[in-house]
Amino acid sequence: MHFAVLQFPASNCDQDAVHALRALGHGADYVWHKDTSLGAADAVIVPGGFSYGDYLRCGAIARFSPVMQAVRRFADNGGLVLGVCNGFQVLTEAGLLPGALIRNRDLQFHCEHIFLKTANRDTPFTNRIPEGKLLRVPIAHGEGCYFADEETLAKLQANRQILWQYCDAGGGLTDAANPNGAMHNIAGIRSERGNVAGLMPHPERACEPILGSDDGRLVFQSMIAALESRAAQQAA
């Protein structure tokens, strides 16, 4: 499979994402923010960083870049899009995902490993995650507190759009395990249609044992499995 990894001015997790995908044996290429086409990509990664200096609000400027218009068309056609950290913020600003990411409740930038509980394993982003498996992956953000109004939260729950929640080592969704004050400990969600997802933690930084964890591979392996199954269906 082939992934397009976007590059905005001040993206800084683009290389990690390309490295992780290539290490998994798949193709990954950078797509510059001024490009108007994603080429022949099977899926898109909107990487972490501080796109356009995080000016105005995180993701607010990136959303208007030419490449994001291509991402919108790609998503409208059912293409898989995953936003990581700043990429998640870009996707919410673009309206491709509901809610918003605001300043961490303690005003601190958090850079640490956390545990994630997968709330819905029946999605293109989570299908390879074994039942009960907690993902140990890093976070590195100052504005990762997920916020949505009551109506949106109810919809997220009813449609099973919540994918990952911060938890403790035993899987408990406690307030102490919530690094940023996110509502319902939400770390990642998907769109109503299900083909666009975003999360604040960094699975691409946890794809090799030498990095302390390779749990992040499960997210990309899920996407690859979903793409392969889709390709097989189209060929049949």
């Binding site: 919410t92 961490n104 507190c145 916020f147 004050g181």
Partner: protein, 80 residues
Amino acid sequence: MKATIIITPKKAVLDPQGKTVQNALAHMGYTGVTGVHVGKYLEVDLAPDTDREAARKALDEAAHRFLSNPVIEDYRLEIE
């Protein structure tokens, strides 16, 4: 001609910055402060011959679409 746009966090949104400033004011002895909300202030310079109503309409749209995020923020637009 100048427009100002004041952006504040919605009441339902956690505002840890405002809360921290409020606590600091209390520590400094400024009593009676029951709430602080930290937002943004934008000054927009407009050409002198700008049509006031057209500018208001355009900036209102820009404030809604881009300058503020309606999910978490309210804004107030003023044209001098």
